[in-house]
Symmetry: C2
């Protein structure tokens, strides 16, 4: 791989009109992360010193209190810890005037290297000003490290400065109760121990009380001979003086026997910048997407992929939180968003990462088995709807645990991973067990219902992806995915048997079991409206009244922040793509005319109050040839966080939407999907774009796809000429290798 290196143009996310943005928004947007930990871009002077750093999977639990508890309810909140801001700094004049005011005058994030540069003007209460430039970078293969450099120069003040920096220890704080379920809560404060190993090195040890997780963080000042707590800087020479600091964030639970001083030397800011640059070069080389005709959009899609890569846990024990490592919204939980919205990007561009993300889910399988039992299902496993440690942490089951579809989503992702990688080892070691256990779950969870001569296998009292409709029967999406789960388990079983005739023995199943699954797959009921000639979202969705026009003023959205769930549930109103999400996943299921009917129908009853919605609407609009609509939805998708569309970017980025924006380009504008070992591309480029180019890896081949208004080129830029079929605009083609 990598024979042809793309030269990334200068992709800088730059803000000069910083004052127009709320600080929390900037902290999120310019956060740096590496899958292990994230550093929000707090203002070093005025930002909150006790929050800003998030370590993936470093969480605390607290009992969930219910107004009225029930059997089998999730018992423990899991909450990612908001650790002290690593960027905080105290600056004063030598005469003792603190610089308490700070204005961020410019920010520049270089997406090709990961370097973040910011410019500040600091001011004391007495009116003295200086300028400060801050450069920072996070290690991308050296994932324990982050470094920052503060350069000071004179403003109206040009005398002596005293600079001090330390990791702040949080004081007691109260738990936050919020009516907004998308925000986070403050868990019990961890046990913190901090010590100054030497004048240039602080150790900070943080241990959780309930989960017994521990991390050691070191803060050092790299500037030779300098002191952390009191460092003099003299600006009277009118020069620029910089102080460089480095932070080491250990792995959870590991004894940190490092020699920080030596380690820091080897990982200076410039070393981290080089490490970061190399990492991003590789990322862009694998997966760069360029869009012609709209520079802003081109930048946005680069930004999205940048943040997606920053957020993803790489160790097989962590995953991608709903807000990544950019904010503590949704408590740092992992959802089905990973498998359905983010994993595709990794499956098609970085299969090792995709495997790591699936491994995380596999590790939660024992807890998923317990959860199935707690739900009265006698076999199989039910993955947690929201979780860090694998246990269910949803405190509102109608829109949490009842979304059983997560099981089929995980199975679907395993299938997609295998389809492209043919990684039979992973299937035999982990993947098949997940698909088998989820299939067993559906088998025991569902029930037969005889309607006339029709034997239906049905699923009752479930919630589909649309959280504005809860506890319904035969949610189309759930049923369709469960059907796929049954099909997949027999398919993968036969793949294993090809590889090893005894390969199924360890799973305790034989051909009779496969026959059962085949039979179930054939009989899963898929609701369809004869009247409207569309798939029905569920057995009753279409019979409910539409949301009242007089309650449809823009200020009433998102509905979940303005209406009781009972109010929302009784109407025919969807938060997001639901049946259409299944249509997107299974293009072969329905004719173009039916798709158009369904799209038209469900678009009329969907609020897009979820960030998971617009990307799917964009993809399907493209598939239907309505590229104008596809473009419209895509633009909201692509720039959702940059324009703060959902107005809560302060809580963190909408990671699933970042993945969705990639899907919209690839599955939408270029019509990509894989079916029966044929890879399909169809040119649906909107007229607003002059060109779309991207790379993906399928089996061992790296393909480059380039679309213009009149051309659709797919070439092999690395690896062998594919053995699978490639269809371009409906015609099978032979690929050529460019070299």
């Amino acid at each position: 791989m990598g024979e042809i290196i793309l030269t990334l143009r200068d992709y800088h996310l730059t803000l000069n009109d910083v004052a127009d943005h709320q600080p929390e928004y900037l902290e999120t947007v310019f956060s740096l992360a590496n899958g292990h930990f994230g550093v929000r871009a707090n203002d070093p002077i005025t930002g909150n010193p006790i929050t800003g750093t998030l370590i993936n999977g470093f969480y605390e639990t607290a009992p969930i209190t219910y107004g009225e508890a029930g059997i089998g309810y999730a018992t423990q909140h899991q909450t990612i810890l908001n650790l002290p801001d690593l960027r905080h700094l105290h600056v004063a004049t030598a005469t003792g005037h603190d610089f308490t005011n700070s204005e961020r005058t410019g920010v520049d994030l270089d997406l090709s290297t990961g370097a973040l540069v910011e410019h500040y003007t600091l001011q004391t209460l007495q009116g003295e000003t200086i300028k400060m430039t801050v450069k920072s970078a996070i290690g991308q293969t050296k994932t324990e490290f982050w470094a920052i450099d503060y350069s000071f120069s004179a403003g109206n003040f040009a005398g002596g400065l005293v600079v001090s920096k330390a990791i702040a220890v949080p004081a007691e704080a109260e738990a936050i109760a919020s009516a907004d379920p998308r925000k986070t809560r403050m868990a019990g404060l961890p046990i913190c121990e901090t010590a100054f190993v030497s004048r240039d090195l602080q150790r900070y040890h943080v241990k959780t009380r309930q989960t017994k997780l521990a991390v050691t963080i070191y803060l050092g000042i790299l500037t030779e001979g300098a002191s952390l707590l009191r460092q003099n800087v003299d600006l009277s020479d009118q020069g620029t003086h910089s102080l460089t600091y480095e932070v080491y964030v250990g792995e959870m639970g590991q004894q940190n026997t490092i020699d920080p001083a030596a380690t820091f030397m080897a990982n200076s800011l410039s070393a981290l910048l080089a490490d970061s640059r190399e990492f991003w070069q590789d990322v862009w080389n694998r997966s760069e997407v360029t869009v012609g005709g709209n520079d802003e959009l081109d930048l946005a899609i680069h930004y999205n992929l940048f943040q997606l890569n920053q957020a993803a846990g790489r160790d097989g024990r962590t995953n991608i939180a709903a807000k990544g490592l950019s904010g503590s919204g949704y408590e740092g939980h992992y959802f089905w968003d990973t498998e359905m919205y983010m994993l595709p990007y990794f499956i098609y561009t970085n299969q090792k990462m995709a495997r790591q993300l699936l491994l995380y889910r596999y590790q939660t399988l024992p807890k998923a088995r317990q959860r199935a039992r707690a739900l009265g299902v006698t076999q199989g496993a039910l993955f947690a709807w929201r979780t860090i440690n694998g246990e269910e942490a949803s405190a509102y089951f109608p829109a949490g645990t009842a979304q059983y579809h997560i099981d089929a989503d995980v199975a679907y992702a395993v299938g997609k991973y295998y389809e492209i990688t043919r990684d039979i080892d992973f299937i035999e070691q982990c993947g098949f067990e997940m698909v088998l256990e989820t299939a067993h779950f559906w088998e025991a969870f569902g029930s037969w219902h005889q309607v006339g001569t029709d034997s239906r296998f049905e699923f009752h009292t479930v919630t589909g992806p649309d959280e504005y409709t809860a506890l319904v029967n035969n949610n189309y999406y759930t049923n369709r995915l469960a059907k796929h789960n049954f099909n997949l388990v027999t398919y993968l079983a036969r793949e294993i048997l090809k590889d090893d005739p005894h390969g199924l023995e360890k799973f305790g199943i034989g051909s009779a079991d496969l026959d059962v699954f085949d039979n179930l797959a054939q009989h899963v009921y898929l609701p369809y409206s004869q009247e409207l000639r569309i798939n029905e979202q569920d057995d009753s969705f279409l019979s409910k009244p539409r949301w009242p026009v007089d309650q449809s003023a823009p200020e009433n959205f998102p509905l979940l922040l303005h209406y009781h769930p009972l109010t929302i549930y009784r109407y025919q109103i969807a938060k997001q793509a639901d049946t259409l999400l299944a249509d997107y996943l299974f293009p072969e299921d329905l004719s173009l005319s039916q798709l158009k009917r369904e799209y038209h129908y469900y678009e009329g009853v969907t609020t897009h109050d979820s960030s998971l919605s617009r990307s799917i609407f964009s993809i399907l609009a493209a598939r239907m040839g309505d590229t104008e609509k596809a473009y419209h939805y895509f633009m909201d998708t692509a720039q959702m966080d940059l324009v703060n569309l959902q107005k809560n970017t302060a809580d963190g980025l909408h990671l699933a939407n970042l993945g969705g924006s990639w899907l919209a380009l690839v599955a939408g504008f270029s019509g990509f999907y894989v079916q029966d070992e044929v890879v399909h591309f169809t040119n649906h480029l909107p007229k607003e774009l002059t060109r779309l180019t991207y790379r993906m890896k399928i089996a061992a081949s790296v393909l480059e796809i380039e679309l213009t208004a009149t051309t659709t080129n797919v070439t092999v830029i690395s690896g062998p000429i594919p053995t699978y079929g490639v269809s371009v605009n409906g015609h099978l083609v032979s690929l050529e290798k460019v070299s």
Copy 2:
């Protein structure tokens, strides 16, 4: 009324095998109450001194904490206060040995007078024993008063005693968190002030912190010259020595300017016993039910009516809590149980009390209007599912607020009250407004659904009486009651117009509005299974799988204490009568053959985990002529608390079931119902009973009904010969007055 006085035979609830019963069970079963306050029968020596007294409607609030809160959720718990035990006593020998051990050797509650007599043997750690007899009574028209007399006599000890008695002030206690939603919680402790006005009088003032309610309680010792805190008793004469105390429990919020000493003199124990006796004579005279052939059952039904009368708030500002004043289960909340299970007894035997109970609901109408708005319903009112003060206090909306049927239940009760009383004043002042506001609610809450040529008016995402099935569409019970609500509003409107041609003007409705209601009533959709030829519980109930046989072991019941709601909801399993409850209310709706089919079907899927279930099954079995089954269900109903059938009588009596047991006799065995100004009686007396006799008041006439295996007699014992029709065993009869 009252020309013929029944002489109540000696109905004593007596327990001599007291040791076989847990103390909390006895405390509940022998509790005394008068609608204003209740005194549980705590052991005076070993019982918990800080709980045992409950004042109807005296409650505290505390914020409801949700794992994940939502818009419009109930915000405040309302919890009846557990006030100090008024029966507690401290007894020691003059040598300082405390009597710390106590054995209750006998209890006798005289249902004809309300006198409670108990016998105890007390023992010190040193082995000294004495005997104590305790007599107590609560005022029934003098509802502020309760008195108790303790008589001491020698056991193996015959020396001096020191007796002290005071109202105990509770210390700080922790909130109780329980997974059993049927239990109560401890609210924040109230502010208590206690003072000894004199050596024979203690004042106890208790004030809630949030609700700002206050009550003053006085405890006095009536024995002349005696002291509350230290009273010597000398048993050396081998005689019996008694001390008599009295308690005054003020009305909430009233300044207590009474002269306790003088007041107490006028209300001595003997005066209270006389007051109580008179009250119960009147109750039995109005409403006595006697059953021949089973003395135990005869006693049980007397006990049930006794407790029902004790529990009911009589002031128009309080109601009947789910556990009455016998225990703090369900937090002292009022539910729909009042209107549907308890009010009928009062409507047909004590119309003034029935009116007071409806007045309570009327007073909550302003809060019910607010609640409807909070649920996104633009007109009408939604009564709180569970409440003391009229605000919704259900912390689990799928089995709380979603039971919208409470609106139609209240309307139904108003209609039943009017049907019998013709109390047009009440309708014009209160009743019509409730029926109109609930009809307006249904009008705005429902929606039209066109199915072929059929225009249905439907109700979506509701929970019916069966709490094991939640958030469904077109619950038959709900729809049928809503249809009745529409019919009733037009009926009552026309009744008002007869009384006063301008009578509707103040309600702002005219004939066009009545036409709208008429039209809605005609089109309310009632689900019916063509296949099974039965009414369907809801749109999807019959398509769900049955509860698995392998999870049907007795120890798995009640299901709500063993399974996650999601597990229960996805099966075709009912906690209680639901569609059958509607069938009971509207006998004219269905043929006997359909009733039999429905009964057979729903009996097979009902667990009777609710105490509201068996009485309805008994009534319908009787109506179907299956008197054996009717008797079987009735026996569980009649003795539910006396045999501790639900195993939680310790938390309080099942008041609705007490009412239900009366319904089972009257509506079941004697086939009583009223339809189109005809009062129907049909003899369904089970062979196990030789006779059933009861009284009821319809319009101004008191009827006595007497059934034997071969006879059915209905006579007028007071008031005029009725102008309405009376049907006995299917034939209209002319009644004669016995005198």
